[in-house]
Symmetry: C2
Subunit: 237 residues, 2 copies
DNA sequence: CGGACTGTTGAGAGATATCAATAAGCGTGG
DNA sequence: CCACGCTTATTGATATCTCTCAACAGTCCG
């Protein structure tokens, strides 16, 4: 995903190169935008934004990954997204409501590029292609949420299959024995992503392992011998 | 929501006036866009788009309302949205994937304005403010879906409260006894919206009625004496 | 007025949450 | 490098909730 920049005068701080939404801009344009960007750095466990905070800038992840989550009224932590290099958040808050609808926490060391509300809006008017990219990405997020909603409201098994597919796609590496998923977080995190109890996830995973559909290599890695069978569980059409 | 157009030469077919995403354009610009629009009409029960269909245009609702839903792998119908006058759909399919991720069915007589993929994209480049409006609206939809997901994955009571609030906001009229909601669809429809069994909804509604929190006037109207108490049920923070 | 669809209510089955106990991993400091 | 303690994960037993099946009531429409 990271685009190597070999142009003169461009150091690794020019994170804009990594960001898909700016990919249509040429180097000169990026250089113009550069001074508008503020850089931030966080360590694992830091909270970047609290739900309810006022946000005045869009945040683009330059390095590392974060989780975005809501604290529900029954005391759970519902994870909505895992964002990593090149992803952005805070865009909902650039127009009407300026209050963040979720908290964001660093899952590892994270570097961000922050672009103020005003600057970002100005960019959208100057470079319509940025808007188009954003609309595209928001459309993808919407599709994903719609899927999660329609799958997840009832059937837990489907939802587990679905999340395994998502993880395989984002964090999987091919191996001779199948696909190895490097999980972005612990079992508890996965349970919070799925909105189920930690214990239930444990049971389901044990069951899947007994059936040979997954193999738990360690707490952060899972081997999937046959992705097709997982897709069946997910009820993929 | 409907904007009265009193300019000369503008008949009621100039639906663009009703559409928030075009609200920043002046009359001359709208007139230019007008020839690009194709009009369609549907009657109650008509399916406007089937999940899986190839979509090549964005659809803006000029009159009436529709439901957008997915058929889940376990045979349910999961309703995702109710769109009405001024709302649009099909925008996810204008870039990458051209296949509709949901079906859309008319809940009553519906008139639409259809704008082709190519024309729509051209508009976005010509009028950046349209993109900004769309990003804003997509942000709202995302927030709503995130809410539905975090509320709904587990707690059914919260979800019922939440949907009552949504309905009160969209379809409610103030009355001396409280807020009267004119439901967009049947109990079965509401159950499909919530992703629960029809019978469960019945029971929950009976319970709420016993507690005096709602009053079922008839199958299409509900009275809410105290919205605050419903908000409590929704677990609103 | 009758039929079909929609809504309500009851009883039992199935699934997941919760509580509790045990086991396994992880980091820290000796 | 190992031992200790703390956190995370697994497994078991029970409780709670929602679904499903079934019967009945109500409503809409021809």
């Amino acid at each position: 995903m990271a685009v190597k920049c070999n142009c003169p005068g461009c150091n690794d701080k020019l994170c804009l190169h990594k960001v898909p939404i700016f990919s249509s801009l040429d180097h000169d344009e990026l250089v113009k935008i550069r001074p508008m960007i503020h850089h931030r750095e966080y360590k694992k466990g830091d909270t970047i934004i609290f739900e309810g905070d006022i946000i005045d800038s869009i945040v683009i992840i330059n390095e590392g990954s974060v989780k975005a989550y809501k604290n529900t009224s029954d005391g759970r932590e519902q994870i909505l997204y895992v964002f990593s290099e090149g992803d952005f958040f805070g865009e909902q808050n650039l127009f009407g409501n300026q209050v963040s609808t979720y908290s964001v926490e660093a899952l590892e060391k994270v570097k961000t590029c922050n672009l103020s509300r005003e600057m970002f809006q100005k960019l959208l008017y100057t470079y319509p292609e940025i808007s188009v990219k954003i609309i595209d990405e928001l459309g993808n997020r919407i599709s994903r949420l719609e899927n999660a909603l329609s799958i997840g409201v009832r059937n837990v098994d489907n939802r587990i299959g679905w999340i395994l597919l998502e993880f395989a796609d984002k964090y999987g590496t091919a191996d001779e024995a199948g696909i190895i998923i490097h999980l972005p977080f612990s079992r508890e995190g996965i349970a919070n992503y799925l909105g189920i109890a930690r214990e239930t996830l444990s049971r389901k995973f044990s069951q899947l392992e007994n059936e040979g559909l997954i193999k738990s290599l360690n707490n952060k890695e899972i081997l999937i011998p046959d992705l097709g069978k997982i897709a069946e569980i997910a009820g993929n059409s």
